[in-house]
Amino acid sequence: MSLHVRSLTVGYGRSTVLSDFSLDVGPGEFVVVAGPSGCGKSTLLRAVAGLVPFAGSITVAGQAVRGPSRDRALVFQDDGLLPWRTAVRNVELPLALQGVPRTQRRARALEWLGRVGLTGFEDYLPRELSGGMRQRVQLARTLAQQPSVVLMDEPFGALDAQTRASMQDLVTEVLDGTTTLFVTHDVDEAVLLGDRVVVLGTGEVERRRDAILAAVKA
């Protein structure tokens, strides 16, 4: 599904974070969003997710974004797990909201937990997991939801190189064909995963790195 951001302006009362920002993402495109700390990357993702009020327009598959929807899932930069649910029950949550029957959703959630390397930790509460483990539970939860647009805010920030590599493989495989906005500070990761890199900055410059990417991927 294609995503179009037009003249997006987001402010938090005392400061305007994004102003007149535009971005077009084609169906199934994987766009990496980069930029200095505090430039508005998370804000952009939250706007697309429908979680902050904005001026301008955001459309997904021609439909204007007015609020959150299950089609646009967000992996939060901060810990977005529900602390009273165990790991597996956190992953089950989107399935439960979609009305998947109880036994089926547990099986699927366990499978996703396995794919992020957390078999054996399904009954742990978030507070009993390490930072990187919580990030992976969040990832599993979002993948289980199978949204048509995925928004990821530094999903691998707390992972060691090896785990990160296997998560990258997972994402590449699962999100193939899914429109994705992916925030990362890791240049290698950007190059590896992104079809394109958008750099937010003081002037919200967009830099095409297609050439580089094509060379690397080849």
Binding site: R46, A49, G50, L51, G67, P68, S69, R70, D71, R72, A73, L74, F76, D78, D79, G80, L81, L82, P83, W84, R85, L93, P94, L97, Q98, L125, R127, E128, Q145
Partner: protein, 254 residues
């Protein structure tokens, strides 16, 4: 060991009371006219042999439970609604806030005139007593809820109702259980006012009756009974609260 300390502390209080009252201590506070522990225990021993005592217990427990359960359901529901809907909050808060401080005894005539039977009036007063603490605590708990959990389930496509049941209710449980515990306590502290209507039985009724004939050991037996029942019911609420809020980080430290 912990139980020894717990029971020991109650024992110390009793011994202190006995000493102060038996010696007719009069140092600013005046213990000289209060009944001694021994007098109260003697009366208690008589009371627990009387069938009427258990009838009173049962009646009061039933009334409190009915009023409390009603209050728990309505208090949590309205507390959430008021905290989350600006519109309904503006609409419902003013009348509720004005009614909230109205004394339980002042409701006695209203309850009698309003309700067809005495029992309904009594349950109504215990309901009102428990309702407001639960409402206010829930409202404050909802206000203090972090926003990220709600954001998370909304991007999973949760409806307003699902947000309420999947995030707001579980997330506010620690605060709500604080309110339920307080509400249970307040329901008991209003049991005498409520049972003034009764005219026949109930622990609160019996206690007030003892006072109208200035029978102090009787009053204290009533107070101890209410204290005991209140303790048990609050402890049940607290226990349940602890069970459903095991996920709190501080629970790992116990």
């Amino acid at each position: 060991m912990r139980w020894v300390l717990r029971i020991g502390s109650l024992a110390v209080v009793l011994v202190l009371w006995q000493l102060l009252t038996a010696s007719d201590t009069r140092a600013w506070l005046r213990f000289d006219q209060l009944p001694t522990v021994v007098e109260v225990v003697e009366r208690f021993a008589v009371q627990i042999g009387v069938a009427e005592f258990y009838h009173d217990l049962g009646a009061s427990l039933g009334r409190i439970m009915a009023g409390f359960l009603l209050a728990a359901v309505l208090g949590v529901a309205l507390g959430v609604v008021i905290a989350r809907s600006r519109w309904l909050g503006d609409l419902l808060r003013p009348p509720l806030e004005v009614v909230r401080p109205i004394p339980a005894i002042a409701l006695v005539p209203i309850a009698i005139l309003l309700f067809p039977t005495d029992e309904q009036g009594i349950v109504f007063i215990t309901f009102v007593a428990a309702f407001f603490p639960i409402l206010v605590s829930t409202r404050h708990a909802v206000r203090a809820l972090p926003t990220i959990w709600e954001d998370a389930v909304r991007t999973m496509g949760a409806s307003t109702r699902q947000v309420l049941f999947r995030v707001v209710l579980p997330g506010t449980l620690p605060g709500v259980f604080g309110g339920l515990s307080v509400g249970m306590g307040v329901a008991w502290i209003c049991v005498i006012s409520a049972e003034m209507i009764s005219g026949q039985f109930g622990v609160g009724y019996r206690t007030w009756q003892a006072y109208t004939v200035v029978d102090y050991p009787g009053v204290i037996v009533g107070m101890v009974t209410i204290g005991g029942l209140g303790y048990l019911t609050s402890a049940a609420v607290e226990l349940l609260g602890r069970r459903v809020t095991r996920w709190l980080p501080r629970e790992a430290l116990r």
